[in-house]
Symmetry: C2
């Protein structure tokens, strides 16, 4: 049970945008180079982040991407769920659990509780706090 | 990021053994049926649990498996790591992290902290508490 490489790259990309001066755009190439993310993979990720309303895309030769809202209003949870879908630490935590032990399974309570904690921590971690710092 | 099906089945299997009378053995078939786990998959899982020292295997027609130690001394962490290897919530939490942001990456601190919490919760959850209850 590990964060996907895609979601990790997405967090790093958003961290990059969060550290940029307000209103400035960054291209795929710039972010790929700064964050050491394979360019083609990053292109797909930025598209998904735009689709999820976390980034805004500007077309054209002077185009690029920027955050859609203040960095402090974007959480790790927003970014991870945009990449992986809703967090579910175990198969059974979803409403669709049809296990034979349900609803008397004590283990499910454990996973539901841990998932709630984890989601709370991810929603508290915002990119106003986690931002890239660039050397001049 | 989700617990593997294999680890979830392993937890359920150990929960089954934890609920059995002391010293009694259970066969693969019995556990598979009671826990609704595909038999072939369970055979592999019980072998791995035995290899990890969580179960003891007895050969022969009256053979089967039982826990190697008291249920309260076996944790969720023991079982999950026996199936998936050491818990690592993100690639970067391992000692082998060679990311360009290391060691100044704030995000890594977040993941290390969450991983520590998660492992603590998993090690506290033991099968003295989480055990199957059988109807007579």
């Amino acid at each position: 049970m590990q964060l996907s490489r895609k979601a990790d790259y997405a967090l790093r990309a958003v961290m990059h945008f969060a550290g940029m001066p307000k209103g400035k755009l960054a291209s795929i190439g710039t972010v790929a180079k700064a964050q050491k993310i394979p360019r083609e993979f990053l292109a797909k990720i930025l598209k998904d982040l735009t689709w999820a309303g976390i980034l805004v895309s500007y077309q054209g030769v002077t185009g690029g991407y920027r955050l859609s809202r203040p960095a402090r209003d974007i959480s790790f949870l927003d970014v991870i769920e945009a990449m992986e879908g809703p967090i579910a630490l175990n198969l059974c935590t979803q409403d669709s659990c049809e296990c034979d032990h349900y609803p008397d399974c004590k283990m499910r309570d454990f996973w539901v509780k841990e998932e709630e904690h984890f989601k709370k921590m991810l929603s508290r971690a915002n990119f106003g706090k986690y931002k890239a710092v660039y050397k001049k």
